[in-house]
Symmetry: C2
Subunit: 437 residues, 2 copies
């Protein structure tokens, strides 16, 4: 087999649709732009991503506790955070072709980027927060926002968490949850969506510890992506320039990945100092500072934030895992996903219908033990291998006529294509080893 | 110790706040009615609930695959489902005291239930779906709804899932995700919320299989609650009367729990026949029927739905587990949660600061192995036991002076209060046994 991979966004989108990873949301009704539904394979992949992220951020000596905040947000939260005033993109309309687009993504001096006419409106600020109304009163007092980031749920609950858990500094609060941004032009499939899921760690430090932990977390986060199996050469760290820094940030580094469309942010690690807790102290009138028993003084905790989108990592993993090679004179597509990441850990394939019942019992046994396993009886064994290759299943167990006699199956490796006979009663051990770090 | 438990909603709310299970959302800004944030203990408990539900629905012979649909929903979906037209509650206002409430929950013939004046408006239908606008056009075409149930995400993706996974009938599609209902009067804490999480299984059958699988799933779902440790006497099945049945339902049974405020629905199991797929076929123009190779005929799959709210089950588990007894002349509150359900599986407690470092190493070892474990050094050992009792931790490992010598800890049982010495190198086995079914 020879590798001849050229990966494109179009190939990934097609694979995601074909194999049940991702469907446009409400596709039978022509979809909702920038919003997606995740099919069986996609849901399993998302589950693995979230599980591995959470396990990773909890794996260090410092304590990390969890939070699960609401999506509906009181307007005061987003006023304090600065989103009501500042969270918007510059938008422009073309009066000729009626297109609407982001003013900062095109050179407008030559006219409309779509029809070339110079009939553009002035640039206006378009608010990116989704708005709704809560309760039966339809007036200003009932406005709520869908949170545009999960971070603020953590900050507004900081005192509640701190006082109920008795954690010691430094410590983290981790959250996985949905966030929503009404992008003017969502694009690149899962890269920039209107509804997405964030994995955020807010790590609270005494002020003098912050710089140190910023560096520590930058390294830890980069290591995490290597541990998932991403190609190390396609990952880099990029410190933000002074003029890119957000107003609340003392320093920021992005973990970038080399996508087919260029080096782009995968995760941002930011030193937010005490910006958020100070803002909420000011706006809520509740003092969010903390009393230090050692120094007998109060201080406002500082924050190191690590923030990544589930779907963006999902897309990165697919790009990185996508391979084409030639096997038996045919192009074979496979996802070389780390077994911990792969949606299906193994497939059980009866060679023919005559051994289907025995094979199915092997499958059910593995399934009931909690492994992500598939059973497939349809089509030639070659076609079935290809289907598993395309969803990244690291191993297929083929049950043949000999299997009934010797109680062994043929384990076929996705990447090497090598086959070996494994006793049926050793399959769980085999899978456990595969999933081990 | 003697049991003298009287459990009330107020006690549960107070415990949830005190121990970091649940906080009113955006509490520092006076909250958002009917919306909650989940603290460290609550997030762990929710995680366990979701994990156990998923494991359970996937544990049977029939295949169950997963879906994760979007929250933002195209309006056509909710027109087809009947929600745009029918999903509303009758609402009335009192012109005197300005209260607004559900007309069907009070006897209005005597006047306002709050101020007794007979100055009520006519009853109007209040729409329960949250509305927002997607994209930069603020007009009718941009309306989207926050899904009021997760089920429709499954129905509109039925054909996508069926064609990409090659599943055989009968099979299930399971989904866990958020749903939103703009209740006029949210109430009873987590029982009826405006933002909540559903766990839904839509089980697709050939029409002639449906009645059989309806009965099978009713039994399985009841068994599930028993397996979680809920008191069997507080669970019952109640078939819906003909006049309570939804228009789409051929039969429905509720699993009810005996809450302090009466027998109420915990889960609904409904025979939805082919209502949903037929509606979406009609409204989308896409034929969602399936061709049966055996009979060489097309049929519209029928659906058995099992639907429960994560937070309602959360509340049920707390009510059921809540105990008060008298230990050493003091009232002790404990949550007698099944170890699989309990947010923290064990706590490691150094008897004094002198053994803190050794104890912390035991804790870190368990934590890095992935157990949900807490370390607590603050206060008397009795106080620390009480804190763990209140969050339902089934066992505490106390590290004392002897522990350094004999490498054993004292395991103290939450329910029996019995203590036994366990070798440190046996703790993982001990916990694995505790978590075993």
């Amino acid at each position: 087999m020879s590798d001849k991979t050229i990966v494109t966004l179009e190939k990934i989108v097609a694979l995601c649709k074909r194999r049940g990873f991702v469907f446009p949301s409400a596709e039978i009704y022509s979809g909702l732009n920038g919003v997606y539904d995740f099919g069986p394979m996609g849901t399993l992949l998302k589950q693995n991503i979230k599980k591995l992220w959470l396990k990773n951020v909890k794996s260090f000596d410092e304590e990390v506790v969890l939070l699960d905040g609401s999506i509906l947000g009181a307007p005061q939260v987003w006023t304090a955070s600065g989103h009501v005033e500042n969270f918007s993109d510059p938008m422009v309309d073309c009066l000729n072709c009626k297109k609407r687009f982001r003013a900062d993504e095109f050179d407008l001096t030559k006219g409309c980027p779509f029809c070339s006419k110079k009939e553009l409106t002035d640039v206006r600020q378009f608010k990116l927060m989704f708005e709704t109304q809560v309760g039966a009163m339809a007036d200003q007092t009932s406005i709520a926002y869908l949170r545009p980031e999960t971070a603020q749920s953590i900050f507004i609950n900081f005192k509640n968490v701190y006082s109920t858990t008795r954690v010691k500094f430094p410590f983290g609060i981790a959250q996985i949850g949905k966030a929503f941004r009404n992008e003017i032009t969502p694009k690149q499939f899962l890269f920039r969506m209107r509804e997405f899921e964030q994995m955020e760690l807010e790590f609270f430090c005494k002020p003098e510890q912050t710089d140190k932990y910023f560096d520590i977390w930058v390294q830890r986060r980069k290591d995490f992506y290597i541990s998932l199996g991403l190609t190390p050469e396609k990952i880099r760290l990029r410190p933000h320039e002074k003029d890119e820094l957000s107003h609340y940030s003392k320093g920021c580094k992005d973990v970038e990945y080399n996508f087919p469309f260029g080096w782009k942010e995968l995760e941002g690690i930011a030193n937010r100092v005490d910006f958020d807790l100070s803002q909420h102290t000011k706006h809520s009138g509740k003092d969010l500072s903390v009393f230090d028993q050692e120094t007998q003084q109060s201080f406002m905790p500082n924050v190191v934030e690590c923030s990544v989108g589930v779907e963006r990592l999902f897309l990165t993993l697919l790009f990185d895992a996508y391979h084409e090679d030639v096997v038996e004179n045919e192009t074979r597509i496979s996802l070389k996903l780390n077994p911990k990441v792969a949606p299906i850990t193994c497939a059980v394939l009866p060679l023919t219908k005559k051994v289907a019942e025995s094979a199915e019992n092997v499958y059910l046994d593995l399934k009931k033990a909690g492994y992500n396993v598939q059973y497939d009886l349809s089509g030639s064994i070659g076609k079935r291998y290809r289907r598993q290759d395309e969803v990244g299943t690291p191993v297929c167990f083929t049950f043949d006529f000999d299997s009934i006699e010797d109680q062994k199956v043929t384990a076929r490796n996705r990447d090497t294509l090598q086959q070996e006979r494994i006793p049926v009663d050793q399959l769980k051990n085999y899978l456990d080893n595969l999933l081990k770090e």
